[in-house]
């Protein structure tokens, strides 16, 4: 009965007569250097890295006061307002006039803040951050981070007024809702 003998085809390399048998060389590899390197690398990483821990960012808010007289006064020359719109859009204006707002991205806002910081008396500088309802938490944390990066001592996180929100909407429409 014909039988499938798979083994014979592959395994039966019969050498023809007259062929010398190849010399069998040892395939053993000495692993010692590899193990040494392994230990070295482990020790290196143990000593030089720490397991990444989440960090905490402090956020201190002033007490809510309803009487306008008690609220902190902001000097026009030192005021710098940053508004956060949707899709990571950032708008800013100096002083107290919102109609002069300019659109900029997160990349440019750092330079704008640093420029304002250089040209203003540190006593008067206050950065006012107004996120809109379209802004994400990431935008808010990034801006608060910029405050720490630029070492701004006085900043405030406040609600946006409806007029400013309208202005932002108009700017978005004018720029082709980005």
């Amino acid at each position: 009965m014909a039988s499938i003998d798979a083994g014979s085809d592959g395994g039966g390399h019969k050498k023809g007569p007259g062929v010398k048998k190849a010399k069998k060389l040892s395939t053993k590899v000495d692993m010692t250097p590899m193990v040494d390197l392994g230990f070295l690398l482990i020790t290196f990483f143990i000593f030089t890295t720490t397991v990444a821990q989440p960090t905490a960012m402090k956020l201190f808010m002033p007490k809510d006061v309803d009487k306008p007289e008690d609220q902190n006064k902001v000097k026009e020359s030192g005021a710098f307002t940053i508004m956060l719109g949707k899709d990571d859009q950032v708008y800013y204006y100096e002083g107290l006039d919102p109609t002069k707002l300019q659109a900029i991205g997160f990349k440019g806002i750092r330079d704008a803040i640093l420029n304002k910081k250089k040209s203003t008396n540190p006593e008067d500088l206050v950065v006012i951050i107004k996120p809109t309802e379209d802004a994400t938490y990431k935008n808010t944390v990034d801006i608060l981070d910029e405050m720490t990066i630029a070492e701004i001592k006085r900043y405030a996180l406040v609600d946006i007024s409806s007029d400013e929100y309208q202005l932002i909407k108009l700017t978005e429409a004018a720029n082709g809702i980005k």
């Binding site: 905490a56 956020l59 938490y137």
Partner: protein, 218 residues
């Protein structure tokens, strides 16, 4: 079948060093890391240059996911017990002692007070599977979160309680604002926002300050 004797061969490679290494790596990870805490929700926090570590003890964590669902979790089991008892009394939830015990073992809770009794009646696996709707914080008075915070503060009366906010990158600002309102109404104005670490960008004042501190130590 002719009896074929299986040739006994000795192994060519001695695996001992590899096994040694494996044990070493295992020991390192056992000592240097902790288990990731079980989370009911996936939250990716934003990066920040802040270098302060998240406090481990005495924390009251409010987690907000990208849909704006809010969850409350507390680390200390003893504190959890006092908290749930307070909440039970002040909100008249009518929780049984077994349900209150279940709370002390639950990871994080994100259900309105009305569903809290039902939620605690489920066992741990069912709790994990259930998609929790989140504690309502919908309005400007801070919703139910206001009461959670108030009872947590009274459970911790006198001692410092760290208020942690852990929100996702994509969480919309209003959800965050409502959580802040719940805290503000309780007269709490100092919070810690949980973030991932990143380095100060070069060329900025912060980077220079940090460089100076490093140079001083050197």
């Amino acid at each position: 079948m002719p009896s074929v004797k299986i040739k006994k061969t000795s192994p060519d490679n001695d695996m001992t060093p590899m096994v040694d290494l494996a044990f070493l790596i295992l020991a390192f990870f056992m000592l240097a890391t902790k288990f990731k805490p079980e989370e009911a929700v996936e939250i990716t926090t934003p990066n920040s240059v802040s270098a302060d570590a998240v406090p481990e003890k005495d924390v009251f964590t409010v987690s907000i996911d990208k849909e704006g669902r809010t969850f409350v979790s507390v680390d200390n089991p003893e504190f959890r017990r006092v908290l749930i008892e307070n909440i039970n009394t002040t909100r008249n939830l009518g929780l049984s002692p077994a349900e209150m015990k279940a709370y002390t073992n639950a990871a994080s809770v994100g259900v309105p007070f009305a569903s809290l009794k039902q939620f605690l009646a489920l066992n741990a696996d069912e709790q994990k599977k259930l998609k929790q709707p989140g504690v309502p914080v919908a309005d400007t008075t801070g919703g139910e979160l206001y009461f959670w915070v108030r009872d947590a503060l009274s459970a911790y009366s006198g001692r410092k309680l760290n208020l942690l906010i852990k929100a996702d990158n994509a969480t919309k600002y209003p959800a965050f604002k409502n959580v802040l309102n719940a805290f503000k109404k309780n007269d709490q104005n100092k919070f810690l926002l949980v973030t991932e670490p990143e380095d100060a960008p070069s060329g900025t004042p912060l980077h220079e300050t940090r460089q100076k501190q490093i140079d001083k130590v050197k």
